[in-house]
């Protein structure tokens, strides 16, 4: 009897403390996750509230479709800035994506373990370089070269493309490599067993099989490019107009916010928050796109 009651007590004691521990850990992890959600919600609310007057002070169409951004004459049309952001982003994606996917294919399918041990940390290190360093490299090394080639100042979309393409390589390359590695080995073996060469296996089998993951990687790379501020600010030239060509000074949303924020007041400041809200919507759209693509992938399997 004493044995049984001791055993019973012990069991209850253990299960109670375990229960408490489990519950408190669950609460802790919930708090961690909640902090992120709270952060996003608060920032969204803050930007939204500060940006709201743009609808009355400037007007939605004059703001989004306005052709002139000139705070001195109180014109707050951000179409040139939106166009600039997209020009820079898509150019960088077109240059950077083949480079990054190529890197991923090399790392996942071709490189020997020894080579991989050198290349992979190098790519990851690229992600760790602060963007101001990229910008500095751009303005000191790259800009004079572009200026020499184009006969201009070297500020403009072209210089930004090259810098941003390098900056998005780690994002796209690491995610693409994960996607390629998650393709089951059986599929590779089946391809080789059919007599396919390495190139045929990569091109006809692996890339299509990893398609969903690759698209996710590219969308996230796009998010990185469109949100980049410092490096872009240093090399685009920041003239708030539609550029005549890719070698002319041009604006982006992020760089214009960073340049203006220190002194803007009144409607000008409201317009900057409006631009932040637009950027926020872009990234929400990108996240939604990633989710949509992933879900489509899940269904097709």
């Amino acid at each position: 009897m004493s044995d049984a009651s001791a055993g019973h007590n012990k069991m209850r004691l253990v299960s109670r403390s375990t229960l408490a521990k489990e519950a408190s850990l669950a609460a802790l992890f919930f708090l961690c996750a909640f902090a992120a959600v709270l952060g996003v919600a608060l920032i969204f609310l803050f930007v939204g509230v500060r940006a709201w007057p743009v609808l009355t002070d400037v007007g939605l169409t004059d703001f989004i479709a306005g052709m002139t951004w000139d705070a001195a004459s109180e014109q707050y049309g951000i179409l040139p800035l939106i166009a600039g952001s997209f020009l820079v982003t898509f150019g960088a994606l077109i240059l950077g994506t083949p480079l990054a996917v190529g890197t991923a294919v090399f790392l996942s399918e071709i490189a020997s373990p020894a080579v991989r041990a050198v290349v992979r940390p190098a790519v990851e290190l690229l992600a760790g370089i602060p963007s101001v360093v990229f910008g500095f490299f751009g303005i000191v090394v790259l800009r004079p070269v572009v200026a020499e080639l184009s006969g201009g100042t070297g500020f403009g979309a072209f210089t930004a493309w090259i810098i941003l393409a390098i900056m998005i390589v780690p994002t796209i390359a690491t995610l693409s490599e994960d996607a390629l590695r998650s393709v089951p080995d059986g599929i590779r073996e089946a391809s080789y067993a059919m007599g396919a060469t390495t190139w045929q296996t990569i091109y006809k089998v692996l890339l299509p099989a990893a398609k969903i993951g690759l698209i996710d990687a590219i969308i996230l790379g796009m998010g990185r490019a469109i949100g980049e501020t410092m490096a872009v600010l240093m090399v685009v030239g920041n003239a708030p107009v539609f550029p005549a060509d890719v070698f002319s000074p041009m604006p982006t949303l992020t760089a214009q916010i960073a340049l203006n924020m220190s002194y803007a007041s009144g409607t000008h400041r409201v317009a900057l928050f409006g631009m932040a809200a637009i950027l926020f919507m872009f990234s929400m759209g990108l996240v939604a796109a990633v989710r949509l693509v992933s879900r489509m992938g899940g269904e097709s399997k």
Binding site: D70, A72, S73, N238, Y263
Partner: protein, 284 residues
Amino acid sequence: MHRHIALTMLVLAAVVVSGCGGAGSGDPTELVVTGSTTLLPIAEISAEGFEESNQDANVLVSGVGSSAGIEAVAAGTASIGTSSRDLKTEEESLGLVDTPVAFDGIAVIVHPKNPVTELSMAELQAVFAGRITNWSELGGPDMKIHLINRDEASGTREAFHKIVMQDVPFDLRAAVLPGTGQVRDVVSRTQGAIGYISLGFVDQRFAGARAVKSLDVEGVRPTASAVADGTYPIRRTLHFFTEGEPQGLARRFIEYVLSDEVQRGAVTEAGFIPIFAGSAGGES
């Protein structure tokens, strides 16, 4: 900023409490210097140096803009109001005494290989407004003009806009760079570029910096003495304003700012022209 305001309020209270006894009854130990952000580096470095040699003195420096500085000294909330502009007509009746402490000249710079050596004010305005876009229209080679402008927070841009542009808008297609150093660097490396920087930064200050060429404006070379005697047109005077002739601590501080130590040190390092540069033989 808030700290400065809080300090200003505190000092204001102290002045009200202790300073009612009338002038000359004993030097107050606190001095409020407020106004132009352009003058902030000079005022701050001077305040540090002044406090070192006057242990009991406490100089409170803040940058709130020239207009606010003039207002503050007129209202008696500051002993010295600093300003990067002259008094407006409606401010002349305030009875403020002007002590010029430095000059700021703005040089127009181009690539050293650019054969153009001189522009008139009207030509400069046309260039920066985007009405003249090729150097051939200015007697140079057939080469596109690449405009380099500063960001709108820049005091140099504000002064250039006022003196040269005279409220004609800048060409928006100009590259906008956030610093004097960047403007200088880009102009030094780009054949067709034109920009403007404080005169003090035209000469190479660092090893490895390339040369730029400053243009004559209205036929006058931008030199320290041409800025100081007023013959070079793109210039402004930096002022300390006091309510009546400066007394006591304010007077000692102004004397320190006008001393060789500050004029050759902080003033020159901040890119400004010392007040005595044009008058080697004394006041004219």
